[in-house]
Subunit: 381 residues, 3 copies
């Protein structure tokens, strides 16, 4: 069907934007689990389309291996954890925490059998994983989580999201949706019309929104004592990496001078780890630097925030459902607004990163063609 | 596997017949809803594979728009109807009944943003939609519905059907199935063997079947007073358009002379609107020109007929299920009978129409290549 | 992602092995049903991806036809059995037990209409079917079922298996899995480490495992009276055909001389009939040559064995689920062990057979191009 000029231009512009069909970006640290999720149970999870199994060693160290036994693809998550080794439930191959097979019951020798293991790093309530090229795994690349530093009180949670992680990032970089999607929770009508600045870098994309003066919703008003007052609500959406978005907000009574204002800030890490192209593990770590001794504030804010973030889940899943059931892409377009400027740069960045990695993988597989001289079938014969 | 000569010929002949893989025909008026289905609720429906949202304006006029917000694909059916405008539930874009965006909360200007709106036409109990080229929408092309004229009493209904609309048309053009699929409702054993005429035109296909003399099933016998009598049952299956099939039937006591016979006719519109390639919105409008004051006759006939038409739904869905789970099409064939002559012409016609439209769309997209110089990403920056 | 040398070699070697994507082998007798499953009900089943319907004639002879009416694809399993003919539930076409249409109610003539019928052969508790080239159907090709001979007591059963038949064959040719997958039923820890011989022929693959001395699990110990004794358990896994695998086992008290040992053997036919590429009809016929008069032994062994075989079903389905949800096959490999030698030969054989048949079908369809001069559309006009 014919499109308008604006629709056609939007369609063309869309070709440079990451979307639900864009390949994964592997060379990043992603959060694979909340620390409290891992135990002595063999726990399966799909991350970047890859099926892994996780467990804690006897000393508590977390481990991640491919979930597929290298012999005949039996899921190790259906197998047995024996000390710090996993014994496959089918033919008994035993793997250590590096994915190296250390025992094949039916023969003496198991030299050379291995499956992939993935570097993990536990940081307080979360566990990071490196799914990329092993030689590039480097703890210094783990993005900073400022709410996990001294002086902040945090709570954390997890929600499965049946939508691409790209749209969760985009959701977070344009908070004008608070007035609509979150009208019943922490949005206010003035949010969408508030002024904003953007700070668009090469790999970092910020949007700062000034809702001043405003009335705060209960989640912020109650713990800050700003109920019924003219307040400032200044929020920064900060795309830190494909694996991490942090929302910073500060609140103060606009009748106070700068010197008189107490330091009342929150920092929420929104952590979208791709499961498949159209599903995401959505982790949240929320921190505040005020009312730090009050557990009931922690509980109140956690409950209120998760209710609001669940509205994002419901909304993004409705979009995904609509996109998944479209029968024709010839007339697909997304018209962008001024408020999308940071998001558009971010989506172009994701697409460039994903395509550069895909090209590299392609070049690697050309350099290591699979047609080279075949070795004997049985590696261990 | 090898086929017999008859099977092989049938396979070849099948290539010119529309089936569950044939593209949609867009340039037709289709029934999109019963009038009573539309209200002030935002109501989603998929028609010809396209996701639309419908509602009634404050003055009752029905409206159909694309269900996808032009900004970020949020379903408008999950949004808010405000007066005669729809406010997107994600970022608040407001669309009027023409699909023109009249407000973007986060900016002053929304010139140029629009989504598609679809011409609708309410005709008594049903609402027609035009999904084709907008410039060809022309109310005069809406096919006649004679049972909606003066002097007829009607009832209407809707059933979802998980099968291609093509097979529903075919079902209706060969009523020999009444003796078998409808053996327990309004079929009689003599139906399949009754004589018939066909009238095969360029775009209209009729088959008239003379079951004379016969005993009428209760649905016709009771309201006509022909119970236990030797009656005539003369039925015309009339393919009016890809969107409409009308079954006309007349009943009389064969012992009466032509002059003595009361005029007792029914006309049933079978209205198959494709939802997807393999599912159909099946609307029915049934009319009679006798016993017009008797509401209980309306109820009785409606209930009896819908029970019978539900047998078609069950049967066509069983066929679709079988076809969908076939793993190999090399040996697929449909052998045709004499009773299929009108149906075969009809299916060739649907295939020609569909292919001609597809070719036109292809030519259009060649003429409007999407590689022309790109405009700025943000239409409204 | 980069693979180790061992993984890469395994990947390459895997290309010659049958797996869940390998085409079916048609020119074999397969078991289509237990004899007790067929009756005067029209019973549908999918075999080698093909949808058939089965019933017994009035004299008890079993019949299998394509389930698809040759006219308009109505499922005959939803139709009516009338004497020894099937009357299609849509337009009443009547087929005899050869698939020949003998009546078309709407016309006099039905010469030439037919659907495919499949040769069946009932052998005690099971019914064989020939899905291959009709001219090659030859009862002498039905593989021997020695447990159905004189002097053996049998029981039989059926389980649906959501996994490729290839992996069930492989499962059976390497019983080292008894120590792990069947640790709670009939496996013992020493099984995996027991010595074995292989006998690898052109189309027959055997692996014989000597677990001596051992303690027998209850399923074997109780009926043989070898509870608590040092026993021999000597098991032969015998791939007889793509449709049949027989496990033979003998048990004896190792303190007895060869002459003193009673003849105590079991033979279990594991019969994997492909339903689709990733699902299998798993039939079992189990026989023993001892304790032949004791019905409670039959019941006890049957129950114990089916519980154990169900562990295979659960395990193979877990593998299939994992394989089906993989998003990337670039890094797929299966590393093989010494114990896999017979299995690898068997999988190469299945692959060669499947590809040879596929090539033959391709050649046939080239020789019978479907572009030859078209015959009239209506075979019977």
């Amino acid at each position: 069907m014919s499109l308008t000029r604006v629709q056609r231009n939007a369609q063309k512009a869309g070709r440079s934007l990451a979307n639900r069909e864009t390949p994964f970006i592997y060379n990043e640290w992603y959060v694979v689990a909340l620390s409290r999720e891992l135990s002595r149970e063999l726990t399966p999870r799909t991350v970047l389309g890859r099926q892994i199994v996780m467990f804690r060693k006897e000393d508590g160290t977390p481990v991640a291996l491919d979930n597929r036994c290298g012999h005949r693809s039996f899921p190790l998550s259906r197998s047995t954890l024996d000390g710090d080794t996993v014994v496959c439930g089918y033919h008994g191959l035993r793997y250590n925490d590096q994915g190296v097979c250390v025992e094949v019951p039916s023969q003496c020798n198991c030299a050379g059998i291995s499956i992939r293991s993935y570097p993990l790093h536990q940081q307080g309530p979360i566990i990071w994983i490196w799914m990329g090229e092993p030689e590039e795994a480097d703890l210094s690349k783990i993005p900073a989580m400022p709410m996990l530093e001294e002086g902040w009180v945090t709570s954390e949670d997890y929600m499965p999201l049946k939508a691409s992680y790209v749209y969760l990032h985009e959701n977070l970089l344009d908070l004008t949706h608070l007035s609509f999607l979150h009208a019943n929770t922490f949005g206010t009508p003035d949010y969408a019309r508030a002024e904003f600045d953007t700070d668009i870098g090469e790999d970092r994309f910020l949007l700062k929104r000034y809702v001043v003066p405003t009335r705060l919703p209960p989640v912020w008003a109650k713990p800050t004592g700003l109920e019924g007052k003219d307040a400032a609500r200044i929020t920064t959406s900060d795309f830190v990496s494909p694996a991490l978005h942090i929302v910073h907000a500060e609140f103060y009574d606009v009748s106070l001078s700068e010197a008189e204002r107490p330091d009342q800030r929150i920092k929420t890490a929104h952590i979208p780890t791709p499961e498949t192209a159209t599903s995401t593990h959505y982790f949240v770590v929320h921190g505040r630097n005020f009312a730090r001794e009050e557990n009931e504030v922690t509980e109140f804010m956690h409950e209120q925030l998760m209710a609001a973030f669940n509205e994002d889940v419901v909304g993004l899943e409705a979009m995904e459902e609509l996109l998944a059931s479209r029968s024709d892409d010839d007339d697909f377009f997304e018209i962008s607004l001024k408020a999308d400027s940071a998001s558009l740069s971010m989506r172009r960045y994701l697409k460039r990163r994903a395509e550069a990695e895909a090209a590299e993988r392609e070049a690697d597989s050309q350099a290591n063609p699979q047609t080279q001289v075949a070795k004997p079938v049985q590696a261990l014969a």
